[in-house]
Amino acid sequence: MKRTTWATILFMLALAILPPVFMWTGNAFYVDLATRLVILAIAAVSLNLILGFGGMVSFGHAAYIGIGAYAVGIPVYYETYGGADAIASYGGAFHILVAVGVSALFALLTGAICLRTKGVYFIMITMAFGQMIYYLFISIEEYGADDGLVIDTRSELPLVSLDDPLQLYAIAYVALVIAMLMVRTIVNSRFGMVLQGARGNNERLVTLGYNTYLYRLTAYVISGAMCGFAGALLGNFTTFISPDMMGWSRSGELMFMVILGGSATMLGPVLGSAVFILMEEILSSITIYWHLPFGLMLMGVVLFARGGLMGLIKGKGDK
């Protein structure tokens, strides 16, 4: 087996084993940390599908996290305080359906426009749509505007209780594994070959008869829906949502997680999220000026570590 495969298995095993150990040794906070890590990793994995494998640099991906989280927050808000009976609900299945559905719809509508553009224009127009959603929620007073919305009750699911930190973690972990497997299946399929071909040379693929626009749009929608699901989990984890979660710098952070770990690889985005969150946690506990070393680290990775951490693991001779 390749070294990268081994690394993937070992790292995922560690993610499975460590949090329960933290819990039983009385370090509940680190379970929280791991949960946030795993949820953001799902978002990064979804971004990797279009950014890494599709070559579509979306600078507005955090919008889907917000949509997913509000898809939990808004129904819970109405169920708790009354009003809008049609969407008032504590039901987890309903929340996930809305999170995934609305995210997919938003991706479809905005993707149809964004994918007409290329290069920097694409980067910037995806950001513009992210900012639109950001300002939209900032101005909806009903849902707390920029103060955000406190989610009073977590989604109700059969068999499990999301109020239990370990159960919530387990759900997020399983979701991450499924997301990784989904992306792997997609990129290796015939669809995935077209997607990757279009990343390398779009004109060539068009000449072969592929309507690459449709393939890209499909990938964009799948990615958005997957990220919306991560958002629903995040809402359940933080029990709080604010428009802040979808600003452009949050989208930049997601992009960075993918690149840091290694884009267009299986483990890359997960590893990237892990290092990102741990560095953030460690540096910010040392100094309030932690953005300085953090920024230097960011620049260092971009300047000197092409291929990200997975590039390092892969080594030279191993393909």
Binding site: F191, M193, N201, T207, L208, G209, Y210, T212, T218
Partner: protein
């Protein structure tokens, strides 16, 4: 017998410069039709309009009796037009085999299939290897495309064009940048294709053109000044004056 491709009154200009000037041309099924002309004659512009990469300003393009003037590039490819590029255009970060397999996959219909790993599909793989075999690249199949030489890239372009199963192949200077021996091999290879596929060939290498072409069209400043078999073209005064004489 009706023409496979019919171009009527095609015009295209870029900000005052006329690149395609009222071009009329018919390509018969099975023939190898060469287009020659000095640099800047508008040969590549013409090909791009045929493949759908550039929209013409006016005129009409008919393929297999259908008006395709306003169809997008990918739709024309599905009808059976493929092109190779003057400057190598391959998916550099994929393997040689994957490049060709994508062409096979394109011919087999839409690729909105998400589950089965593409590389494990025998039908795709075998046919792609077969095409690579025809251009003598089967040994390089698993290499990353970027690792191949320029000459091999040109061969890959041909393998891909073949793999699409297109009826009409638009070949834009397949000999460009090849060494003498590679050129000879390419000419032999294209000879072998004659009759099997209809080919519209742009080429600077006159030896190749006169050795291969059934008919030749001479394009100067976007205008056709002559069309005929190689002997007719050789004997044409206009051509000699406007083009061959210059060399």
């Amino acid at each position: 017998m009706s023409a496979l491709l019919k171009i009527s009154n095609l015009c295209k200009s870029f900000g005052g410069v006329t690149a395609t000037d009222n071009v009329n041309l018919e390509v018969e099924p099975g023939e190898l039709h060469a287009i020659i002309g000095p640099n800047g004659a508008g040969k590549t512009t013409l090909i791009s309009q045929l493949s759908g990469a550039l929209p013409p300003d006016s005129g009409k393009i008919t393929f297999k009796g259908m008006d395709i003037t306003n169809r997008p590039a990918h739709a024309r490819a599905r009808l059976g037009i493929t092109r190779s590029f003057q400057i190598t255009s391959l998916v550099m970060d994929m393997s040689v085999l994957d490049n060709v397999a994508l062409a096979v996959q394109a011919r087999q219909g839409h690729s909105f299939r998400f589950l089965k790993p593409a590389r494990s599909i025998r039908a795709l793989r075998d046919e792609a290897l077969d095409m690579l075999g025809r251009v003598g690249l089967e040994a390089r199949a698993e290499q990353p495309t970027v690792a191949l030489s320029h000459g091999e890239h040109r061969q890959m372009e041909i393998a891909i064009a073949l793999a699409t199963g297109a009826d009409l192949m638009l070949l834009d200077e397949p000999m460009a940048g090849l060494g003498p021996q590679e050129s000879v091999a390419m000419i032999e290879f294209l000879k072998g294709l004659k009759g099997e596929r209809t080919i519209l060939l742009i080429e600077h290498d006159m030896d190749a053109v006169f050795a291969l072409a059934d008919r030749i069209t001479v394009l100067v400043y976007g205008r056709i000044i002559a069309t005929g078999n190689p002997d007719e073209i050789r004997g044409n005064d206009d051509v000699r004056h406007a083009y061959l004489g210059e060399e």
